[in-house]
């Protein structure tokens, strides 16, 4: 069954496994057809965003915070505006909706991040002004001439320091530097069975602490966009985005433009690995074009890509396993801290993905997790290949090795013994299907010459699952640790909501315009939750409510709410 498909190290296709679940006689699917784009790649003719030339192209570059955390007393652009070649200098005042969170397009999370910060910066490298000049060198020189009067604030860089009482507040809207899930808890919970009871019955308790590093996506093409005026009062935007309509939707929201006035072109991208989802460049490039009438390019240089571009966030995991002497894991408990950096971006979402993945590809009858999305004064984290999973898989599989050593078992046998099989109940309360972990482990053991017991060599994913293993726990221990008051579910980590997005306009829940930045705070600086108006049309006036700060806030800090699911809404 071995097909040599390269001249280098071998690839084999194990067509013998799961053969009766497949029809291998297809015409085109399964063929090693050349890439459609390969000729363009080898001739250097594939059109990346920066391969579109424009006469009179202007260049944009941002002035950035040198501090981890600081209040902005004043941004002075007068010197920059007088520099050679400078056409315009943008600050937060020029951005129509200068507050966003990427996942607002999915009705997930509060807008928390300015496009160009006006009052405060929360990480080193945060942009406060954008210079537009005739050449890249002139934009660079002028960005250095933007003067900011800073008031440096205490900062926090470690996730567990950040959640201690009295830690500097990174974002005023999230109490204790923790994202709020479902309007209810300061972490995402997973509760399946009763781990504490199971620990008491276990022969061994195995504990571990694991730290994943922050990692740069490092595409060879840096992130960027070129915007230009198009006919019919529209704007065209050539972009390196990984997510065309995410970027288009974000630009429409931030610029308060109907999406029909935007024409996004991309699709040929020089590597992404998750780093080109954030839609940082498109809104500012288009805004530059709107305000100058000329084509504008905004792209990161390599240093910015590495230190300003959002990395894969670091994660810290604590794992405790209850293990029987024969190697069966009967309970597994996680405490996780995701280092989101200064703003939410996609971290809150990564955690839900990670929690849905616990306890890894194993059937364990008692599982518990508390996972925190923690704000620190670091570069905001975002997606990267393996998003939400890579770090916890590192932790789980390093931990499995400790378990194997504790019970004196071959590590491959330990995995097969505990592997999930078709019909098993997973901790997120769905049945396991289409499993293949056992077969992967067996193939590797065979290739590497690792001897495993006949019983485990004969095991498979199709049989031996279900039954007791497929049942929900008789008892699940739940708790209300980490309860948070004053938030509504719709604007936090509850995608859509039970009654559907059409008739559930998110309730306006906003920080006040001017926010104190230091702790301690007497209570969360948000308004009390109000019931969502039922079936209110977007244009209907809001039900009468007590006068509050929300109605007085300046329009640019988020008067409109936009989502891919529910469109624009006036608050």
């Amino acid at each position: 069954m071995k097909n040599m498909t390269t001249d280098g190290p071998m690839v084999e296709f194990r067509k013998d496994l799961f053969a009766d679940e497949r029809d291998d006689n297809l015409n085109e699917v399964g063929k090693p057809t050349r890439r459609q784009d390969i000729r363009g790649h080898v001739t250097g003719r594939s059109p990346f965003f920066d391969d579109h030339l424009f006469n009179g192209l202007l260049h944009m570059r941002c002035a950035r915070s040198p501090h981890h955390h600081a209040r902005i007393r004043r941004v002075d652009t007068t010197a920059a505006e007088r520099m050679p070649g400078v056409v315009r200098v943008l600050t937060g005042r020029d951005v129509p909706v200068n507050l966003n969170t990427l996942l607002s397009l999915l009705d997930f999370g509060l807008d928390d991040e300015p496009i160009l910060s006006e009052t405060k910066v929360a990480y080193k490298g945060e942009p406060v002004a954008a210079v537009i000049a005739e050449t890249e060198a002139e934009a660079r020189a002028a960005a250095a001439a933007v003067h900011v009067d800073w008031e440096v604030l205490p900062h926090v860089l470690d996730v567990e320091e950040a959640v201690k009482p009295g830690a500097p507040a990174v974002l005023d809207i999230y109490p204790n530097n923790k994202f709020v899930y479902h309007g209810k808890y300061d972490h995402q919970k997973l509760r399946f069975g009763d781990v504490d009871a199971a620990f008491k019955t276990a022969d061994h308790i195995v504990e571990g602490r694991y730290q994943m590093s922050p990692i740069e996506q490092a595409p060879i093409e840096t992130c960027g966009a070129i915007a230009a005026p198009e006919q019919n009062d529209r704007y065209v935007c050539y972009t390196s985005t990984q997510a065309l309509f995410f970027s288009l939707g974000t630009a429409a929201k931030v610029l308060t433009l109907p999406s029909s006035r935007l024409h996004f072109i991309g699709g040929t991208v020089g590597g992404g690995f998750g780093g080109k989802v954030d839609s940082i460049h498109e809104p500012l490039a288009i805004l530059g074009t709107m305000l100058t009438g000329r084509p504008v390019k905004y792209a990161w240089d390599r240093a910015e890509e590495m230190q300003v571009g959002a990395p894969r966030g670091a994660e810290r995991w604590y794992i405790t396993d209850g293990v029987m002497a024969d190697g069966r894991i009967v309970a597994r408990k996680f405490t996780g801290y995701f280092d989101a950096g200064a703003y939410t971006r996609l971290s809150s979402y990564a955690i839900i993905k990670g929690v849905g993945h616990l306890p890894g590809p194993y059937t364990i009858p008692n599982v518990y997790a508390d996972v925190y999305c923690v704000y620190t004064n670091r570069t905001p984290a975002t997606a990267m290949r393996g998003f939400g999973i890579t770090g916890v898989d590192f932790s789980i599989e390093a931990h499995m090795d400790k378990v194997a050593e504790t019970v004196g078992m071959n590590p491959i046998e330990l995995r097969i013994l505990n592997a999930y099989r078709d019909g098993d109940m997973k901790a997120h309360r769905r049945e396991a299907k289409n499993c293949a972990l056992i077969e992967c482990a067996q193939v590797v053991a065979e290739k590497a010459g690792v001897t495993i017991s006949p019983a485990l060599k004969a095991a498979n994913s199709l049989t031996g699952g279900g039954g007791d293993r497929g049942a929900l726990p008789v008892f699940t221990a739940t708790d209300s640790e980490g309860r948070v008051e004053g938030f509504t579910a719709t604007s936090y980590a509850k995608k859509g909501g039970g009654s559907g997005p059409e008739n559930l306009p998110p309730v306006a829940l906003r920080p006040t315009a001017a926010q104190p930045a230091t702790r301690p705070a007497p209570q969360p600086r948000v308004e009390t939750a109000r019931p969502a108006p039922q079936a209110a049309a977007p244009d209907n006036p809001r039900p009468s409510e007590p006068a509050d700060q929300t109605q007085k806030k300046p329009a640019r800090s988020g008067a409109m709410r936009f989502s891919s699911l529910s469109g624009f809404r006036r608050r």
């Binding site: 050679p84 060198a137 002139e138 660079r140 020189a141 250095a144 240089d301 240093a303």
Partner: protein, 266 residues
């Protein structure tokens, strides 16, 4: 904003230099600074630099200002330096970077300069100045004028010179550290030991401890162990993205021992 001045000779270029000017040779460091907006306003360059600018006089080897790493690799007279030139950057960098420019390369670069320090090389200023030891350049690079060449004596036995570069990335990676050793032997005894370390300070530095441990000794397991144990004396390792000062201290002796053991076997 940047301006560029192009001259026919180094003498002309030297006259044009000033505190607001930088001399553009291979460009591998200076053009990056230009791209990043960190370079002086005036760039001074030669019209036709010679990438193989080299001559010898007796056992004196004279490497001209235009000589590139690729130029070194193309010259059989410099074969004992090929292992050094071969680990500077990647192929493109070696086609551009000059030997003299490497003397001005700041940490973590400057592995060729480390070799020149071990060789006791002298730099020859453009104009009237007399040759000065490369240490003078390291002391204050900003006050050095244009260099016309760097010169040193060919080791009588080329096997007396050894070089090792340790990097995390292979085959092209910046240094955890580099070591150059010149161990001339007379009657089996080392006379005039020079051990230089790269990436173990802001500039290439000599290991006073290792030199003392080797001087007058034969190169054997005992003297090598002593040199390794004393290697860190005279060095001032930095913490950077590649390694911490602690790590550099811990492994400096280990790598010196490996280099010297290899030289002992020859």
């Amino acid at each position: 904003m940047t301006t560029v001045e192009t001259y026919a000779t180094l003498d002309d270029a030297a006259r044009a230099m000033g505190s607001d000017a930088a001399y553009l040779a291979g460009g591998t460091l200076l053009m990056r600074a230009v791209n990043e907006g960190n370079a002086p306003d005036r760039l001074v360059r030669l019209n036709n630099p010679n990438p193989k600018e080299f001559r010898s006089s007796g056992d004196k080897l004279i490497l001209g200002a235009g000589l590139t790493m690729a130029g070194v690799l193309s010259l059989r007279e410099l074969d004992f330096l090929h292992p050094v030139a071969r680990v500077i950057g990647g192929p493109q960098i070696r086609n551009m970077a000059t030997v003299v420019g490497n003397l001005f390369a700041e940490h973590p670069y400057g592995d060729f300069a480390t070799a020149l320090l071990a060789l006791g090389a002298q730099v020859v200023p453009v104009g009237q100045g007399s040759p000065r030891p490369v240490e003078d350049i390291f002391r204050d690079r900003s006050r050095v004028g244009l260099i016309s060449s760097v010169e040193f004596h060919r080791p009588r036995d080329p096997r007396a010179f050894g070089f090792l570069k340790v990097s995390r990335v292979k085959p092209k990676g910046v240094s955890v550290l580099s070591i150059a050793a010149l161990l001339p032997r007379e009657g089996g005894r080392i006379r005039g030991a020079r051990i230089a370390f790269g990436a173990m300070g802001a500039t290439p530095l000599r290991s006073a401890g290792a030199e003392r441990a080797l001087e007058g000794q034969s190169l054997d397991a005992t003297s090598i162990d002593r040199a390794a144990a004393a290697a860190i004396e005279g060095l001032d390792p930095p913490t950077d993205q590649i390694a911490s000062a602690w790590y550099r201290r811990e492994v400096a002796g280990v790598h010196l021992k490996r280099l010297l053991t290899g030289m002992e076997r020859i």
